[in-house]
Structures are given as structure tokens and as C-alpha cells.
Symmetry: C2
Subunit: 107 residues, 2 copies
DNA sequence: CCACCATAGTACGGTCGCCGATGTATAAGC
DNA sequence: GCTTATACATCGGCGACCGTACTATGGTGG
């Protein structure tokens, strides 16, 4: 799993969001690092629905603009956690190899 | 940076290794998760040399088989650390969102 | 003795996710 | 009334990864 996909799934953990809101939340969660463009965002959402990691929760119409809300499935939650574990293992490998990392700038 | 590339760089942190040895070390460091196939391995090594993250250290001939040793550059070390920091941030985002992860199986 | 396997590297083609770009549509702001 | 922000769709291209096949050598097993 790549980073954009990962943050999309994380963004949807708490509650269903529509596409544009997913992008905003992903940017927040990544401290501004992950800025999802339309191509990445909607492409990934479609793919994740196909894979059963997301489902379409509902569609609304707000001020003429339609909003499609996505909800994460159990499979999606599971994949997210598996990915996080993979990241942790990769991080531990770095710590064991190159030593402790510098402190992060306090968020 | 993708995971295979990351573990290739980690594998070369301590000392120069030849291609095949890089693959073995990467598998070790990843607890067996990352098994580099020939296509991925040599493609990535060439690319990393092009990018200045690795240099060819020397070439030996052992039992008729040539071995090409790669050494990581400062740029490569820097990229590795930057990647590890990125991973940590992604992991922290998960912790903040879905809560603490289960304990890893003791290595 | 011959097949197989591990080592070591080269080469090629395909796939998949990401990304930029473009287009549609509406409502708000200047 | 033109631009900007919101919201989504689609298309094409690229790059990293990966499978596969090939060359080559030396050790192991049937």
C-alpha cells in the first residue's frame, strides 16, 4: 500500500466523509505532507471500493453539488492496521541499523 | 520511496555489499518480508547509482562469478533517514487515529 | 553422470498506483 | 460577470516494482 491510499483509509476511520473532505482530512493527518489531487483521490476511492475496503455510504446533494460519502469496511480497517504494523517493522529495522532518529518537530 | 528501495539502502548502511548479498540482508532486516527478485534488485541498484544515493565500490571475481559491490553515499544516508522520519510520521498518524497497535511478535 | 539448486548478474515486458491536466457543474465573492 | 472554491469524473503518462527467462559457475544428490 502506498502512502496516499494509507491516509485515505486513516481519514475514514472515524466517520464517513465525501471525497473532498477525505483529501482535507488526509492532509491534516499527514501534517500537510499528503496533498491528494483529484486523479489520485477518486482513482483510489474507486479502487478501494472495488477491493471491498470502502463502501459508498450515501449520496447527498448540497447546494446543487453532489457529495458521495464513503465508509470504511472491516476489511479496510484490517488493511490499515496491517499497513501500520508493516510501517512499524520497517521503522524498527531503521532504528536497529542507523540508530535512533532525531526528535520530530513538535506537532 | 518504496519499501524495496528503503531496505536496499538500509542493507548498505554498515558496509558495501554486492547485489545478491544486499537481497539477503534486506530479507533479514525485514524479518523475511522483503524478498527482492532480480528485476527489482538490479533495477533499483542501477537507479540508485544514477540518483547518486549509491556508488559502485569495486568489482571482484569470485570463482568465475563477478561481484559488484555497492556503497551508500551521504545523499543515500540522508534519504534513508528522511524516509524513516516519513514512516514515523505516518505511524504516529495511525496511533492518533486508530489507537495503539498490538504488540509485535518478539523477533 | 546428470539434474538440480544456490549464487550472481542481465534483460525485457507488464502491471499498478500515482499524478498532472482537463472538463463539468454550482454557489459565493468581488 | 468573471473569478474562486467546492465537488466529482476521466484520461494519459510515468516510474517503481515484479515475474520471467537467460547466461554462467560450483556444489549436492539421485
Amino acid at each position: 500500500m502506498r502512502e496516499p491510499t494509507y491516509f485515505i483509509l486513516l481519514a475514514l476511520h472515524a466517520e464517513p466523509l465525501h471525497g473532498y473532505a477525505v483529501a482535507s482530512r488526509a492532509k491534516e493527518l499527514s501534517d500537510g505532507r499528503v496533498e491528494l489531487t483529484a486523479g489520485t483521490l477518486y482513482g483510489a476511492l474507486d479502487r478501494l471500493v472495488d477491493e471491498g475496503q470502502l463502501v459508498v455510504d450515501r449520496e447527498e446533494k448540497v447546494n446543487g453539488r453532489k457529495r458521495r460519502y464513503y465508509r470504511i469496511t472491516e476489511a479496510g480497517e484490517h488493511a490499515t492496521q496491517a499497513e501500520a504494523l508493516r510501517l512499524r517493522q520497517a521503522l524498527e529495522a531503521a532504528a536497529a541499523t542507523i540508530g535512533p532518529l532525531p526528535k520530530a518537530a513538535t506537532a
